[in-house]
Symmetry: C2
Subunit: 573 residues, 2 copies
Amino acid sequence: MTSDQFTETQALNHSKFLWVYDTTLRDGAQREGLSLSIDDKLRIARELDRLGVPFIEGGWPGANPKDVQFFWQLQEEPLMNAEVVAFCSTRRPGKTAEADPMLQAILTAGTRWITLFGKSWDLHVTEGLQTSLEENLAMIRDTIAFFRHHQRRVIYDAEHWFDGYKCNPDYALSTLQAAIDGGAEWLVLCDTNGGTLPHEVSTIVRDVVQFVEHRAEIRKQNPVAGNPQPPTPNPQIGIHTHDDSGTAVANALAAVMEGARMVQGTINGYGERCGNANLCTLIPNLQLKLGYHCLDADRLTKLTDTSRLISEVVNLAPNDHAPFVGQSAFAHKGGIHVSAVERNPLTYEHIRPGQVGNCRRIVISDQAGLSNILAKARSFGIELNKQDPTCRQILHHLKMLENEGYQFEAAEASFELLMRQALGQRQALFEIKEFHIYCDVIRGSCDLIRGVDEWRGRSLATIKIGVNGQDILEAAEGNGPVAALDAALRKALINFYPEIAAFYLTDYKVRILDGAAGTSAKTRVLVESSNGHQRWTTVGVSGNIIDASYQAVVEGLEYGLLLQNQAKAALTS
Amino acid sequence: MTSDQFTETQALNHSKFLWVYDTTLRDGAQREGLSLSIDDKLRIARELDRLGVPFIEGGWPGANPKDVQFFWQLQEEPLMNAEVVAFCSTRRPGKTAEADPMLQAILTAGTRWITLFGKSWDLHVTEGLQTSLEENLAMIRDTIAFFRHHQRRVIYDAEHWFDGYKCNPDYALSTLQAAIDGGAEWLVLCDTNGGTLPHEVSTIVRDVVQFVEHRAEIRKQNPVAGNPQPPTPNPQIGIHTHDDSGTAVANALAAVMEGARMVQGTINGYGERCGNANLCTLIPNLQLKLGYHCLDADRLTKLTDTSRLISEVVNLAPNDHAPFVGQSAFAHKGGIHVSAVERNPLTYEHIRPGQVGNCRRIVISDQAGLSNILAKARSFGIELNKQDPTCRQILHHLKMLENEGYQFEAAEASFELLMRQALGQRQALFEIKEFHIYCDVIRGSCDLIRGVDEWRGRSLATIKIGVNGQDILEAAEGNGPVAALDAALRKALINFYPEIAAFYLTDYKVRILDGAAGTSAKTRVLVESSNGHQRWTTVGVSGNIIDASYQAVVEGLEYGLLLQNQAKAALTS
């Protein structure tokens, strides 16, 4: 369902259709630590379009050069289905809409839909805008009418709706009346400060639905005199929530159950302070549990990928514990669970993970029982027997290493190598004899203001390895010590294993295990590698960050070679 | 309110009293990536006790040596007020409770309260336990009666309550009846799979409250024949929720509004898969918004500290975006917000941050406007004038550095140094001329199984600095390259600044800025330092992890000296 079909569908019984409105690019970008380039914004918009989101709020054209350019680029290469929506505020107090350059800039963005936010809370009108309550109503009405006059369709965001309604319900409702009079097609109730709880949302949305139905009835009987606009359909209600009370998703659900038909939120719940309603949680709840239609069912299975891809674009680590799409959302750890979930998944999983494109995981950890080890082995394609003493040996070894700080939950490639080693299935492809690293930094000053360009640095690594009975000594330089070491290792190995030319590192994470010990603490390094088709993660732990990195890098190369051999074996068998 | 007062308070009108039950140490520890030592468990228990939590679930005595020892240590050094509760399952099918060694082990933990979980869902009885529905009822009743016989008070956790009730309400209710007959004082309804939504919780809890009231009435008229127990008060209802639908907190609120009087959850929402109900969100909602009494008001102000301290103990980065207690929960970023929130906080904050021990923050970032810079300067005790061209210069410089990858949101100490530099208030305490680092690793093999003990490694750093016109050259060794560099720098500085002996690093975080470039990517290092009283964070960015670490370490020392000088100046003025 695209927004094009909105008017048509209104004629149908659409009580189970919901319009998803994504504001990752605007409200989401307010999150502390998140900053989007134009390319990032375009990638995210195209990803949301592929997911089937009908409305994508792109930004405030004119607020900064980035947002202007974003809308221009989309005019040249439009999205497939989604409507990109421009966002802005009402006209300035005491001026006409036509004379407001900010509103003219909005029109140049060339969108069909515009989301306009206005003040619902009397306190914000008098204290924030420092204008009269009457003028605020005129600002809402005029601005919407201005956009209607320019053939734009308007979504009205009632800012601070719930707080405003609680303080002064009559005035708050009169702002909605102004939006209706201006010709808004959607009235979106915003819990801007995020302080409202679900039972309050239910009551207030119920009041608004009644108010809108009642007014629409009156309006049908007495059309507004002199309104030049063609009659618009009854405005629909939308909901926009924030997570300051930890109930953003529940608040949106409560609103939908009272009749709201648009849900606004962001991917992964990004947003200012505690974030916005997380669409990756909200959509599956609405669609799989309450039977509403938000996305086509085959699109819903892209949700997990979309969530993770966007977290990569914005360069924030994904929340492994996120409902539905997190890596741990369907992870089973305790021994009892694991055997039960394998017998009957329904007894331990609230939905089938595949419905949102996620999958079940059996977690390896220091709480692992034998049944976890067996399940994990099976997922690696290794047949193990519970009676086999190697099983207990692997479990014992695993616990010992985890005690030292290794974490195999996140480094399954290293765990597979460990398991294959215990089973005598791990070939020693090469042997590291020694390595040396030299870093020299000569700098003019420790002056941050004058910048980091003044120093000259160099990292050089030498490495000696044994391969096929030969000793190979190589040296290489790099940006930093780990890059130098990686380069030297590859140089030494490439003649024996030319496949490694296709491997590259996709992520590198460092965690200090005992923060209190500072730079002397143990370091755990996780390295993610790729061959262009597959990704795998390996782990290294040491008191020395170089050595921990080195362990993870070496295992990453080794695991890549193992995958390559398995692929070859599969082809020839 | 401690649990001691529970029976007494029952006589009072306690409709607004709630009992908080923390299960961080048991259900929370199921979180992927979380592993607790006995010391960790004891520290967390004492912290929860200080916070005023009346019930702390400690673990399952006998399940592993750690939990046994935990309870023994608490018998020797008991908590101040909280009840530590032992957790276990019902007796085995087909045996008596007295003959079950698992239940005997629970008694040795010496707790006054025991939480027993039993099956509510017929499917789990027949498929999971593989016993009859009747035997399950007997298991619940007998086990509780066994504990009552041994003078224990019992909380009954109805596992999979909501799913079970939806499948077979009659059977589910008969399990509660068995718990009532056994003598349980609390019936806790558990949404074990986390799939239930708030409106379902409301309906089902309402049914249970009615059921319990009705049964209690009948029982008063017809006491159970042959029940040797003294009559127990009417059991109360509790709620235990998981966040798989993103509604754990809302579900608990819904249950309380229908009459539940115990809320179970974990600090920071730790728990299996997507976690348990987050007590740091639930408690302020209940207490500040719904007017229930969970903690004494002066204890509530310790919530933020408790949340952060426990995240340190479990060694997981705190969630900056957590409601109420997150570092960003009351952070203001956009320019309009900042000026408005300073005029009237109520218009942009749903509670006063101090009520939960948190505080307002004005965020410095590439979206910063001049008013943010001014607000930030004020918080550093620096008076700046908006007209001063230095303001714009700082803003410009900030944006340039953030573009390079610096992030001052998390490194306020570095930002203060930058600001003081622009204002000519930063003294060059020392000048780094050059440094060199040597790492040698000579190892027997790259064999993970045979362990990391076989290699010999060494990191050595030399550094040349200029202080007071003198050149100082020093060398030091360390666990790793950064530790060696830190040691050499301190050695060079200690004669000039003996105060640095008291500084130490409390955390060290590394983030790769462009994951796709792997080990050649830019590295951002955040270093947290302390002088025992205060903590501060500094940042370094470079393509070379050593250099980035070095920048952050140097600024950490410099900022520590600045704090020391300010303290001295305050004393003499």
